[in-house]
Symmetry: none
Subunit: 416 residues, 2 copies
């Protein structure tokens, strides 16, 4: 199994001005090539710090991917650091200059000396072409260790990884693949899910090089199965069997896999059957509708929605009886049901979905705390509401309530 | 000047499943406390790797911030690594258990043994309370070096940084402050804003240790002024003078500062004057309402909202004449105005705001491309609509349209 370290360079990363998305992208690409990332390091535009990081990584891992600091200005010193580390000088590389000239001609701007200098590359490297920018990359292969040095501009780096670095690594690393499968759950706490699953080793046997990770988030706990296998088919088979064992223990809480969101799962169920939906949101304030309408094609089933913050809106738009609100309060099971029924009826849709609750920080009463939310549901035959207590933090309550509402709808669509 | 290293822990980072946003957040907070980040390291859930990273960082920097791997399940081993590194054992910490019990009681779910075990903390640390989650943090201060160990869940970590870690570091680090001020603009491109500002050195003189950064985003370009000063008062004074010079050049595009979002600015303007708002969204699908209702207290002025995806909804709920839709199409200036007027009338509010457009990827026609959006506005005296072309990408179109609508409302509220 080949191992790797990712080194990202730039002062903008150290002051937190930029979120480091290159690391995750490179890690994914390496993983797919069967290279296991052992660590990631970020240093500033500082010669000593860069050389130190290169030294340590190159000595301890098979592969080192370096990005950032290859631009034309004075603060870009990665090339100097690479020369220092490999004890080499710069050579002029004519194809790199041709590429730079082509880019400047295309943009219709005059070539400057500092751009021309980007065609100077460390002696002894294989040059990685950069069709989208002026900075070429450098590939070194010494004593079984590989170092690829790439610019930090994401789309340039990504193209160079795909076109040159990954194919090179795949040739070095035959007979070894890493695959992942993420199973997404919601409505169950991490610790309770862990108890429900029981003996983890039985689900993901280490004898088959399988591992399982628990990844909690406001949307629910994700379970990630990882397989290291000699080939893609074996990895696929082992993961499928493991997924089946996990589903047998916790199917009730599983709504999707990998990149699937609940709004996509629910949307696909609605669209498949030609069903339509109307949503009436109070405490979630539009978040459910925003999520549903992020899905391309959602206009086929999201007929309309209401954000009924005021009681007057609940009465006028959803035909919730004012007496019902007086008797039970706007945050109640009865009003949640009436909202879902009212939205469904006004819109003439297959289903109605509603939320009413206390997102906070104000609005709580002794018997109705912040985080109390009722989710209402209505179809042609029946309607119901479910009570949730979702903690504190206005945005968090909104997120959890939206997730709970979409999950309730998913279960009803599946006739659970 | 104190120096720091940030260590983030988790296999999900090494496989690229999660983009590491914690690093940037922590770096910003340390910066503001006058602590310079020298490096960032990411390692997996592996005892040897974690202990190695702790050793190296604690020996070479004044401050080490560690996040991740404090959860209750078998793959969370950061606490073990911390004990190994400090050669210490676990102690039971009663307040941490009380906090865990409180969270479980509140959520109405039974406490499990593995959650109870989170109340065991490394002996000799100062416990960092975690009011939002079950994992307490640990603060060590040895031989002038500080290590803070925090959970990886972003909102828990952020709260613990703000409430405990940053105040602790500020006490360690007198006589040097770094302060930032971010001026938020929208509706103007980065290059045009740069031209409008002119000579940057005159706005942020380097003689006063001021710098300016341009930070573009889908919500608009932010301008960040940074001051390094001997004390907070000097930093404040220099930044205020610089901000005034920048405002004199570009006030028209500036809607807020620092963490202020447009929904907060608009919300404050509405609340101050006792005004109310109704929103009718088509292409933005609930995003404007979601943003407005994220602001605590927004129920005072967000009377209600409509997500009228279908024509039937526009006709029934907003009284848009069906003939108007037939004549001009749902995506038109006329319908945008009628939607804003209809929402305002139905809700009896001071203002009505609306969007109608083509978020894509489908729905475009030769004369109405993806990204075409009309924003409508209505008050007691007048109504109008403004046309925008906002590019492609469904989510991006929604975000830009929501921002354009809120900015139009802000300008109208200020009678621009």
């Amino acid at each position: 199994m080949m191992t790797a370290e990712i080194i990202t360079i730039g002062d903008e990363l150290l002051i937190g001005q930029v979120v480091n998305t290159n690391q995750a992208h490179i890690a994914q690409r390496l993983n797919e090539a069967g290279v296991v990332v052992k660590g990631m390091t970020t240093v500033g535009d500082n010669l000593e710090a860069i050389v130190g990081a290169l030294k340590e990584a190159f000595a301890s891992q098979d592969v080192v991917i370096v990005t950032g600091g290859l631009g034309p200005t004075h603060d870009d010193i990665t090339r100097d650091a690479v020369c220092t580390f490999f004890k080499t000088d710069l050579d002029f590389h004519p194809p790199a200059l041709e590429n730079i000239q082509r880019l400047f001609e295309y943009r219709g701007i005059p070539l400057t000396r500092i751009n021309r200098d980007q065609a100077l590359v460390p002696r002894g490297c294989e040059v990685i072409p950069n069709s989208l920018g002026t900075a070429p990359g450098y590939l070194f292969h010494r004593d079984g260790h590989t170092m690829a040095v790439l610019p930090g501009v994401p789309y340039e780096m990504q193209t160079m990884m795909q076109e040159t670095v990954v194919p090179f690594l795949e040739k070095q690393n035959p007979g070894q693949v890493v695959r992942h499968r993420t199973i997404k759950t919601t409505g169950i706490a991490e610790s309770i899910l862990a108890e429900q699953l029981g003996d983890i080793e039985a689900l993901v046997p280490s004898s088959e090089s399988l591992t399982l990770a628990f990844l909690p988030s406001p949307a629910g706990v994700r379970l990630r199965i990882t397989a290291v296998a000699p080939d893609a088919e074996t990895a696929r088979r082992r993961i499928a069997a493991s997924e089946e064992r996990i589903r047998a223990k916790a199917s009730k809480y599983i709504y999707g896999v990998d990149d699937e969101d609940l709004e996509q799962v629910v949307g696909a169920l609605l669209q498949e059957r030609g069903w339509t939906l109307a949503v009436a949101e109070s405490c979630t304030g539009g978040l459910i509708l925003d999520r549903l309408t992020n899905v391309p094609g959602s206009s086929a089933y999201v007929e309309r929605g209401y954000v009924t913050y005021s009681n007057a809106a609940k009465v006028r738009d959803l035909q919730v009886p004012a007496t019902l609100i007086e008797k039970h309060g706007a945050v109640s099971k009865e009003v949640a049901i009436a909202m879902a029924e009212g939205a469904r009826k006004a819109a003439g849709t297959t289903f109605g979905l509603s939320t009413t609750g206390i997102a906070g920080p104000s609005g709580a009463t002794p018997d109705k705390p912040v985080g109390l939310v009722y989710v209402g549901y209505a179809d042609a035959e029946a309607s119901l509401a479910v009570r949730f207590t979702l903690g504190e933090g206005r945005r968090r309550v909104k997120e959890r309530a939206a997730q709970a509402a979409l999950e309730l709808l998913r279960k009803k669509l599946l006739k659970d």
